[in-house]
Amino acid sequence: MSISIQNEDFDICVELSALRSASNNVGAIVSFVGLVRDLSYDENIQNIHVEHYPGMSEKALNKIILEAKSRWELLAIRVIHRVGTLTPNDQIVMVAVASTHRGNAFSSCEFIIDYLKTDAPFWKKEVKTQGGEWVVTKESDIERMQRWMQKS
């Protein structure tokens, strides 16, 4: 189970290969990679700035991972969230889960990214030529997270 919050980009192949070697019982790996979308809908947006609450963000991600482990049988979990300045097409987040069977891997990966969206203290700002705008929590993200509360 490992968490990284970093400025640097990551290599999904390296990460998946590490998960593969976590145990001889790994029968399934599911990964999710979030990217920065095209920002051309507003020509004033220059890039995205991501900030987090050091200390709390690690704790919050750990809590989400522990909750996932209590719901599904998992062999390894890797979460990476990038911070700093990012541009379209950049990788921003990765969640990868290894399990014996695919069902647990699929469900837990979705659970972790859904909870990360609403329960981990990260903020995105669209940096514009003058100032910028902080992105707010999307209603659809809250709804996705609440579905898991009904399932528990």
Binding site: M56, P121, W123
Partner: protein, 84 residues
């Protein structure tokens, strides 16, 4: 009582502050009280730190406006989160 206050997201930007140590007067019991006390600083503080527009954390756990505070607590005030 000394409180470490941290700001993230929009309020941090608009109030131009990331962190400060404050000594609230007697009678400040909850995070809500602390917010009202910060509002005395002026209109922009009222505007940026409206309960409906921000969330808070107490010692690095999400908290509510009724959460009680004590000496040496770390309190964070921030706009809705938007990671991932």
């Amino acid at each position: 009582m000394q409180i470490e206050l941290l700001y993230f997201g929009r309020p941090s930007d608009n109030l131009n502050i990331m962190r400060e140590t404050v000594s609230p007067p007697a009678g400040i019991v909850t995070i809500g009280d602390l917010l009202n006390w910060l509002h005395l600083r002026g209109e922009i503080w009222v505007l940026e730190l409206t309960e409906s527009k921000i969330r808070c954390a107490l010692n690095q756990e999400f908290a509510s406006w009724n959460s009680k505070i004590k000496d040496k607590d770390e309190i964070a005030l921030f706009s809705p989160i938007s990671g991932g």
